[in-house]
Amino acid sequence: MSGKIITRMGDGERVLLTRSEIKKDIEEGTKDAAERAHIPPMTPEEQKQLLEIIADPSRVVSVERGQEVIVTDDGCSMSFYSGQDGGGVGAPLSRMQAVLVYERACGADTTSLGHSDYSYKPVKPIINFEMNDYYNISMVSTAPFFYGAQPNMGLYYQPDGPCENPAELFSAGKIDEARAAQEEALQYLKEDLVFVAKKLSEVGCEGINFDTSGSAGDAEFLATLEAVAELKKTIPDLPILMGSSGEFILGMHGELKYEDKQLAGMYPHDQVKVVESAGADIFGLAVSTNTSKSVPWNLARAVTFLKHAVSVAKIPIHANVGMGVCGVPMMEQPPIDSVSRVSKALVQIGKADGL
């Protein structure tokens, strides 16, 4: 064990690595990101900084004084009252109590409310319940209060939704039909995103979070971009945070474009430009954690994507740092040694405007 440093794998397993092994993982992680996205890798000095953050003997680390950033969330207050499958601790709190605890006991910069399913589609039939809860909580909360959920276009496909299932059509060789189904679904999704946001804006909504956009591919990302653009035309003062679902937009359709830019295959530095163009106020950058690689490898990769995206963005970028994202291990209870190192590295080296 002597001379070895405690770190983690992407699935949270604790491992002991030498400095040279960590250095090698950082080199390989940044190289992987740079080659995939055709962007600059971390400089030798940045790689050294990351190595020192990983090798810090402290259990928990933090950013240097004065480098703190804004931490937004994706339904963190829900974790107080929800169950295991939502990362929740099951405390019997109401939604309002949870938001106020998060704001006042935890000192969160922003708070949020969301449907338990954390998707927009199921919000539509209960929009009046959500409007009432949002309004009541917004009257007693002090920090900025978002309404958030995921576009989650998969819910619009059979058997859960009205559109034919592209996965089944693809496997039957029906490529055109699979694309048509996605084009149909994206219209339903866009309508729902706009509907929910407009209704919440009627009760003074302070901010909308379209979280994890693109999880069902480029059609979902397009639907969200178009919803943002429409909302910004009709309700220009509604702050919108649009987050992505990974470092690479999946080409489930493959031919969709936003303002003549092909969405499939977009990496974060291009994602932020279309999000910016649609009118969103904050971009949430996501990089998937590879569970079979180490945290240093994953973190080097995430920092590389982030740093370049921040350098080209005109809007603030918040790195998404939930379970299995941007170097945080993919497990139900992410270890705080890794979480705090991810936090520090993304801010100090990746230059995130927030998390």
Partner: protein
């Protein structure tokens, strides 16, 4: 996990000035350094004091923009946010709605 991020990187919300800086990102698309500079100027403090509880605690109390510990009778919630909107010169949508519901129309 959220608390780990808050401890590692967060500005501290209403403990300090995190909510104020967040409003500038949300309403004016400001990057972090620009947002911090704007808020520090409005508060009349150095940027390094934005996360200094010793300075921000009294300042928040004096400005009526909400404190993390509950002071009986002091502004919280929408009343504190109204003061935040005035302090920062930003439009907070919940405050606008609240004002529109008052019989004297918020004037």
């Amino acid at each position: 996990m959220h608390v780990a991020h808050i401890m590692a990187s967060c500005m501290g919300g209403i403990r300090t000035s995190g909510d104020l800086v967040a409003w500038m990102q949300m309403t004016h698309k400001m990057k972090i350094h620009e947002a911090k500079a704007y808020v520090a100027k409005k508060l009349g403090i150095d940027e390094e004091d934005l996360t200094n509880e010793e300075v921000m605690r009294e300042l928040r109390k004096d400005l009526g923009i909400g404190t993390v510990t509950s002071i009986a009778g002091s502004p919280k919630g929408i009343r504190a946010k109204w003061n935040v909107a005035n302090l920062l010169g930003v439009k907070i949508r919940s405050v606008e709605l609240f004002k529109s519901q008052l019989t004297f129309n918020g004037v």
